[in-house]
C-alpha cells in the first residue's frame, strides 16, 4: 500500500465484511509530540481471542475467516517501519478497534494520502447501509465528518446520489486543506 488512506480503506472493508453498521475512523496528527495515530473502531462481529493472537501473522489466513488476510499485517508492518506501534482489541459480538501509531517525522512513515477519496469510496458504495464517522485532528484544529448527521440534513436525498457525492468530495477536500 502506497499510503495510509489505502490501508484505511482496506481495514474498513474488513469491518464491513464483519457486518459493522457503525465505523469510526480517527486520524490524529500531533506534530508537537511527533506522533501520528490512526484509530478504526467498528461494531462488527468481532474476533475471538484465539484468532486475535494470529491476525498480524501474514501467513495466517483461513478461508473460513475471510476477515483476516494480509491487510492487518501490512498495516502492522507499516507502523514498525516508522518506529510506531500496532494494537488490536476485539470482543466477539461487540466489535473491533485497531490503533496504529507512527513517529510523525520518521523518514519511513507512509504519507496519509488521499483520505477524501477513501471516504468517498466508502460513502458512495456502502453509505446507505453503514454509518461512518471520520475525525481528523491536526494539533488544535480538526473536523468531524458524520454520515448519520449528513443523512439527516439530506432528508429524502440519497447519500450516494452523484451530485451529493461530488459535493461531499469538494467539502472534504476543502476541510482537509484547511488543516
Amino acid at each position: 500500500m502506497r499510503d495510509l488512506s489505502l490501508h484505511v480503506l482496506d481495514i474498513v472493508e474488513n469491518s464491513i465484511a464483519a457486518g459493522a453498521k457503525n465505523i469510526k475512523i480517527i486520524i490524529n496528527e500531533n506534530i508537537e509530540k511527533d506522533v501520528l495515530t490512526l484509530t478504526i473502531q467498528d461494531n462488527g462481529k468481532g474476533i475471538d481471542k484465539k484468532t486475535l493472537d494470529k491476525v498480524i501473522d501474514p501467513f495466517y489466513s483461513t478461508k473460513k475467516i475471510r476477515r483476516i488476510g494480509l491487510g492487518l499485517s501490512m498495516l502492522a508492518q507499516a507502523t514498525k517501519e516508522a518506529d510506531g506501534s500496532f494494537n488490536i482489541e476485539s470482543q466477539k459480538g461487540k466489535g473491533t478497534a485497531i490503533t496504529a501509531t507512527f513517529v510523525y517525522s520518521h523518514i519511513d512513515r507512509k504519507p496519509i494520502g488521499d483520505m477524501a477519496e477513501t471516504l468517498i469510496t466508502l460513502v458512495a458504495t456502502q453509505g446507505l447501509n453503514v454509518d461512518f464517522i471520520y475525525e481528523h485532528h491536526k494539533n488544535s484544529h480538526g473536523f468531524i465528518f458524520d454520515t448519520k448527521s449528513i443523512k439527516q440534513e439530506l432528508k429524502d436525498l440519497p447519500l450516494n446520489d452523484p451530485e451529493v457525492i461530488n459535493h461531499l468530495r469538494r467539502n472534504l477536500n476543502e476541510e482537509l486543506e484547511k488543516l
Binding site: A17, G71, A124, T125, F143, I144, D161, N166
Partner: protein, 127 residues
C-alpha cells in the same frame, strides 16, 4: 469540534430533482469493483473514483456502484464485474482509469462488451 455540514443543500436538492431519480430500486446496471487488499494495492480505489466522477459528469442515475472482496485472482487486479439487468455478469481484469471509462461508455451505456479486457462472462462467486 466543527462538524462538516453539507451546506448548499437546496441547490443540490434542485439539481437532483431535475434529473429523474432512479437510484432507489430501479438500477439498470451494477458495477462491482473488487476491493480486497490485493485490489486496493493494485489501484482499485482509483478505478472506483474514476467511475464515480464519470457517472457524476454524465449524470447517470440508474447505475449502482458497489465493492466486493478478493475474488481469488489477485494477479489480475484491479478487477470489476459489470452486471446489466437481464444479462450475464462480465468480469473485467487488469483495469486502468482509461479502461474503466471505456467500459462505462461502451459496455454500460451502449451495451457492447469490450472483449479485449474481459476475463470471463457468466456467474461468479466472491468470498
Amino acid at each position: 469540534m466543527r462538524k462538516l455540514k453539507i451546506g448548499d443543500l437546496e441547490k443540490i436538492r434542485e439539481k437532483v430533482r431535475r434529473t429523474a431519480n432512479l437510484r432507489q430500486g430501479k438500477a439498470r446496471a451494477k458495477i462491482t469493483v473488487h476491493m480486497g487488499t490485493c485490489g486496493i494495492a493494485a489501484g482499485a480505489r482509483d478505478i472506483l473514483s474514476t467511475l464515480l466522477k464519470e457517472i457524476g459528469k454524465k449524470k447517470l442515475k440508474d447505475i449502482i456502484v458497489t465493492t466486493s472482496g478478493c475474488a481469488g485472482l489477485c494477479s489480475r487486479e484491479p478487477m470489476a464485474t459489470v452486471e446489466i439487468t437481464g444479462k450475464p455478469p462480465v468480469k473485467y481484469v487488469d483495469l486502468t482509469a482509461e479502461k474503466i471509462k471505456k467500459i462505462l461508455n461502451i459496455h454500460i451505456i451502449k451495451g457492447n462488451i469490450i472483449n479485449d479486457y474481459v476475463l470471463a462472462i457468466g456467474s461468479e462467486r466472491t468470498h
